[in-house]
C-alpha cells in the first residue's frame, strides 16, 4: 500500500534478519523495502532507496554501523534510524544516538511491539531504557557543569523529569499520567533529548578538535 511505512533492515545474521522481516511484515501498515547483511551492501542499497525507517544492527562483519548511521542522519535527518540490539545496553546505544540514531529495538521483541516502536519512531517518538536514561542524566550533568560559566542548561526541567522517571523504569504511559501529558509528548521529549545529545556530542567533538588545533577558527 502507498501509505505503508517503508522499513530497511540491516542485520548480519540471516535467520534473525528473516525473523525480523517476517514480524515486521506481519504488522499492518509496515512494509520492508530492503535488507542487507553488511555495511557495504546496505550503503549500496540505500543509495537509491526511498525509506521511512532504518533498522540497523551495530556489529556487522565489515565493521560498526555507527559511521553509516552518521552518514544517513546527515543525508536525510528526517528518516529515523533505530538500532536493533539483543540487550539494548546503554554504551553502544548511546554511541549510536550520538551519531544520530533515534533509539533502539530489542531483536526478540514480539511482532506487535516491534511494529509499535517503528510506528512511534516515524511519528517522532523515541524509546528509552532506564540504563540509557541514567547515562543521559549523568552525561548532561557533566555537560551543564562544563557550561557553568554560560549558565546554560542543556536540558529543560521537564526533559530532566522525563529522564528521571525513565531511569526508574516507568513506561511512557506511566510517565505521561504522572506529568499530565499525552504519551506522544513524552516520546517527543525523548527525541528532543536525543537530538540535544547528538548536537552536544558534535559540539563537544568540534570543541575538542579545536582545542587540539585540528580546525581553523572558521569552523
Amino acid at each position: 500500500m502507498a501509505d505503508d511505512i517503508r522499513v530497511f533492515v540491516l542485520e548480519d545474521d540471516a535467520r534473525t534478519r528473516a525473523s525480523l522481516l517476517r514480524r515486521l511484515n506481519a504488522a499492518a501498515c509496515i512494509e520492508t523495502v530492503g535488507d542487507a547483511g553488511a555495511l557495504a551492501e546496505a550503503r549500496d542499497a540505500l543509495a537509491a532507496l526511498e525509506v521511512d525507517v532504518l533498522l540497523f544492527d551495530l556489529q556487522l562483519p565489515d565493521g560498526n554501523a555507527i559511521e553509516l548511521i552518521r552518514e544517513q542522519h546527515l543525508a536525510r535527518p528526517d528518516i529515523p534510524v533505530l538500532v536493533i540490539s539483543v540487550f539494548g545496553d546503554e554504551e553502544r546505544v548511546i554511541a549510536a544516538i550520538e551519531a544520530g540514531a533515534r533509539g533502539y529495538l530489542l531483536k526478540d521483541e514480539p511482532g506487535e511491539d516491534l511494529a509499535e516502536s517503528v510506528r512511534r519512531a516515524v511519528e517522532g517518538e523515541s524509546p528509552i531504557s532506564p540504563a540509557i536514561a541514567r547515562h543521559l542524566i549523568r552525561r548532561f550533568q557533566v555537560e551543564s557543569e562544563r557550561r557553568v560559566n554560560t549558565a546554560e542548561n542543556p536540558l529543560s526541567d521537564r526533559e530532566l523529569e522525563v529522564l528521571r522517571l525513565a531511569s526508574k523504569g516507568l513506561t511512557y504511559q506511566e510517565t505521561a499520567d504522572l506529568l499530565g501529558v499525552t504519551v506522544n509528548t513524552i516520546g517527543t521529549y525523548t527525541r528532543r533529548i536525543y537530538q540535544k545529545l547528538a548536537v552536544t556530542s558534535r559540539a563537544q567533538a568540534v570543541f575538542e578538535a579545536r582545542q587540539m588545533g585540528w580546525m581553523g577558527d572558521g569552523h
Binding site: 545474521d13 540487550f87 526478540d108 531504557s129 540504563a131 523504569g169
Partner: protein, 619 residues
C-alpha cells in the same frame, strides 16, 4: 621595669670598660710584694747595668759557668747590679731574689762574701725565687748584689733585703701566684679540654669543639712550660710557645665566627696570613739569633711586633664578639665579649710591663696567662651547655621521629591493604566485563538466532524456553552491569522490561520501589538471585493466579530488605506453591534470606526478607 635593648648594650659597654680594670686591680692585689710596711724591706737604692759603677771585679765574667743545671745554653747573659744600705731595723736580714735562678754575687762593704746559691745554704729555693741569709754583721753595712741572667729574664723580678720571716712569706706568696694558682687554672683548663675533646669525638661535625680542645691543650702546654722550670724545654721551643698564644687568638676568631654564625672569611684569611708570615719571620730570626748568639736587637724588635699583633688580633676578636652581642644579645655572647675586653686590657698591661724598666709597674708576673683562661672557661661552659641542649633536643627529635615512623608504617600498611583491595576489585571488574562481552556478542546473538529458527518450526515450547533463556541472560547482564549501581537501578531495568508484557497479560501492576533502595548496593550474585526470585514470583502470579492486580514492592527496613510480590488471584495450587517455592527457597537460602509464602483466595503474598550487612538502614 622593662630594660630596653639599647640600655642593655650601654650597660654592657660600661662593664666592658670597667671589668678589666677591676680584674687588673684584683690580680695586682693578689700579686702584691709590698704589703708590709716598707721599713722591713730594703729596696735597692740604686742600680746600674754598667760594670764601671761597681766595686772592682775579681776577674769573673758573666758566662754560663756554675749554673745550677746548665739550662738555656747559648743565650747571652747580662748582669744587673743592685745596691743596698742595710738599716738596723732589719733583724736577721736575708737577701730575697725573685726569679732567683742564675748567678749572683753578693758584696758586703767591698768584700765579696759569696757567689751562687750553692755557696750558701739558701733559706728557700724554688723555681721562681731564692732567699739567702746575709752575713751576721750586715746591719748598717752597704751591700752590692750582681745578678747575672740570660738576657731575656734579666729585667724581671725584684731583689730586696728583708727579715727572714717576711722573705719566707713572700716566697710562699710567690709560690702561690706563680705555681699553685697556675696549676689550679691549668687543671681546670685541661679538664675542659678533655670534656670538649670527648664531645668533639662524639660529634666530629661540630668543628669548634675540636678547635677548642686543641687550642686549650696548646695553651696548657705553654702554662706547663712557664711554671715547670724543671722540664728541659729548649730555648727554641720557648719561642714557639709565644706563637701558640697567637694561634690561640686566631682559633678563637674562627671559633666565634662559627659558634655565633657570623661568617667573615676575608677577615679570617687576613689574620691567618699575618700569623703565618710572623711565624716564618720568627723562625728565621730565631734561628739566626741562636747561631750568632747576638739577638738582643732582633729579639726586642721582633717581640714588639709580635706583641702589637697580639693586641690587634685581640681587638679584632673583641670586635667580632661585639658583632655577636648585637646580633643575639644573650649570656653567651655578652660574657664572651666582656672576657675579651679583659684579655685586651690585661694584655696591654703585660705589654707595658715587658717594655718599661723594672719597677715601673707593680706586680711580679705577666697576667695574661691567668685572664686568658676566662674566655676559655666560658667557652667550655657554653659548649657543654649547648651540647647538653643539643643532646636533649636530639632525644626529643628521636622520639618524634620514632612516632612518625610508626605512623607512616601504619599508613603504608593501610595504603597497601587498600591498594590490594583495589587491585582485586579491578581484576573482578575486568573479569566481569569479559563475561559481559562474551554473553553479549556470542550467547545473546545465538539465542536470538535460535529463537528465529524456532519460529520457523513453529514450536511454542521451544520458543518459550528460548525466551526464558534470553530473559535470564538479561537478568545476568543487568546484575553484572557496572552502570546499575543500586537495587533501585536493577529494579528499574526489570520494571522497564516486564511492564509491556504484564500490561499485555491484563494485569494492573502497582510498583513500590522505595527511593531509599537507591543506597542499597548488592554484589552481582546477590543482585541476580534477588532478580530471579522476583521474576519467579511475578511469573507464578501471571501464570497461575488468575487475578488482575499485582503489587510489587521493594523496601528497605531497619534490619534489611523486604521484597513483596502480591496478587489478588485465587491462590496458587499446592503443587505450584511447592515447586515454585523450591526454586525460590534455594535461591533465598543461598542469599541468607528468609522467604515466606502466604496463599489464600484473593490474596497471595510472597515475602522475602534479606538481612543487609554493611548497608546503613535508611533514615
Amino acid at each position: 621595669m622593662a630594660i630596653s635593648r639599647r640600655q642593655r648594650l650601654i650597660g654592657l659597654g660600661v662593664l666592658y670598660l670597667t671589668l678589666p680594670l677591676l680584674v687588673l686591680l684584683l690580680l695586682s692585689w693578689l700579686d702584691r710584694p709590698y704589703d708590709v710596711p716598707g721599713d722591713y724591706r730594703v729596696q735597692a737604692t740604686d742600680w746600674a747595668r754598667s760594670f764601671s759603677e761597681v766595686p772592682p771585679e775579681d776577674g769573673w765574667s758573666p758566662t754560663s759557668e756554675g749554673w745550677p743545671d746548665g739550662r738555656r745554653d747559648g743565650e747571652p747573659f747580662t748582669s744587673i747590679w743592685y745596691r743596698f744600705e742595710v738599716p738596723q731595723s732589719v733583724p736577721t736580714p736575708v737577701l730575697y731574689i725573685a726569679y732567683g735562678y742564675g748567678n749572683f754575687d753578693v758584696w758586703q762593704d767591698g768584700q765579696r762574701v759569696f757567689r751562687t746559691a750553692e755557696a750558701v745554704q739558701p733559706l728557700h729555693y724554688n723555681h721562681s725565687s731564692i732567699s739567702v741569709p746575709l752575713i751576721d754583721n750586715a746591719i748598717g753595712s752597704s751591700v752590692f748584689v750582681r745578678l747575672t741572667r740570660q738576657a731575656s729574664a734579666a729585667r724581671y723580678g725584684f731583689v730586696y733585703i728583708a727579715p727572714a720571716e717576711l722573705a719566707k712569706r713572700d716566697a710562699e706568696e710567690q709560690a702561690f701566684i706563680q705555681q699553685q694558682m697556675p696549676t689550679t687554672v691549668l687543671t681546670v683548663m685541661l679538664s675542659f679540654a678533655v670534656v670538649v675533646g670527648a664531645m668533639f669525638l662524639m660529634r666530629p661535625r661540630e668543628r669548634h669543639y675540636g678547635w677548642y680542645a686543641l687550642t686549650i691543650a696548646l695553651w696548657a702546654g705553654h702554662s706547663i712550660h712557664n711554671m715547670a722550670e724543671s722540664i728541659p724545654f729548649s730555648h727554641f721551643w720557648f719561642f714557639s710557645l709565644n706563637h701558640l698564644l697567637l694561634n690561640w687568638l686566631l682559633a678563637e676568631l674562627f671559633f666565634i665566627n662559627r659558634y655565633f654564625a657570623i661568617p667573615a672569611p676575608r677577615l679570617e684569611r687576613f689574620c691567618a696570613w699575618v700569623c703565618i708570615v710572623l711565624g716564618i719571620v720568627h723562625l728565621t730570626i730565631a734561628s739566626q739569633a741562636i747561631h750568632s748568639l747576638n739577638f738582643e736587637g732582633y729579639f726586642f724588635n721582633y717581640y714588639a711586633v709580635l706583641e702589637v699583633w697580639y693586641l690587634v688580633l685581640a681587638i679584632i676578636v673583641s670586635a667580632r664578639y661585639f658583632t655577636a652581642v648585637r646580633r643575639q644579645l644573650n649570656f653567651d655572647s655578652a660574657s664572651l665579649w666582656l672576657a675579651s675586653g679583659i684579655v685586651i686590657i690585661v694584655g696591654f698591661r703585660d705589654f707595658l710591663y715587658a717594655i718599661l724598666p723594672p719597677g715601673s709597674l707593680p706586680g711580679s708576673v705577666f697576667y695574661l696567662q691567668y685572664v686568658a683562661t676566662i674566655p676559655l672557661v666560658l667557652f667550655g661552659i657554653q659548649l657543654i651547655r649547648r651540647f647538653a641542649r643539643d643532646a636533649y633536643t636530639a632525644e626529643l627529635r628521636n622520639e618524634e621521629l620514632n612516632q612518625l615512623v610508626e605512623e607512616r608504617t601504619a599508613a603504608l600498611e593501610s595504603t597497601y591493604r587498600k591498594l590490594s583491595e583495589e587491585e582485586r576489585k579491578r581484576a573482578l571488574a575486568e573479569e566481569r566485563s569479559r563475561l559481559m562481552r562474551d554473553m553479549h556478542d556470542g550467547l545473546g546473538g545465538q539465542l536470538v538466532h535460535a529463537l528465529a529458527l524456532s519460529e520457523q518450526v513453529d514450536d511454542e515450547d521451544l520458543q518459550r524456553s528460548l525466551r526464558l533463556a534470553l530473559d535470564d541472560l538479561r537478568l545476568i547482564v543487568d546484575s553484572l552491569s557496572p552502570s546499575a549501581n543500586s537495587l533501585q537501578d536493577l529494579m528499574a531495568s526489570y520494571r522497564h522490561r516486564v511492564s509491556r508484557l504484564l500490561q499485555r497479560t491484563g494485569f494492573n501492576v502497582d510498583w513500590h520501589i522505595g527511593d531509599e533502595t537507591d543506597s542499597v548496593q548488592l554484589k552481582p550474585n546477590e543482585a541476580l538471585s534477588v532478580l530471579r526470585i522476583v521474576q519467579e514470583a511475578v511469573t507464578n502470579a501471571v501464570r497461575h493466579s488468575g487475578g488482575d492486580v499485582l503489587c510489587i514492592s521493594v523496601r528497605q527496613l531497619a534490619d534489611g530488605l523486604q521484597l513483596t510480590v502480591r496478587d489478588n488471584g485465587e491462590g496458587m495450587p499446592e503443587a505450584v506453591v511447592e515447586r515454585g517455592l523450591r526454586n525460590m527457597k534455594v535461591r533465598a537460602s543461598e542469599l541468607g534470606a528468609g522467604l515466606n509464602i502466604r496463599s489464600e483466595p484473593g490474596d497471595t503474598t510472597i515475602t522475602m526478607h534479606l538481612p543487609l550487612s554493611g548497608v546503613a538502614p535508611a533514615s
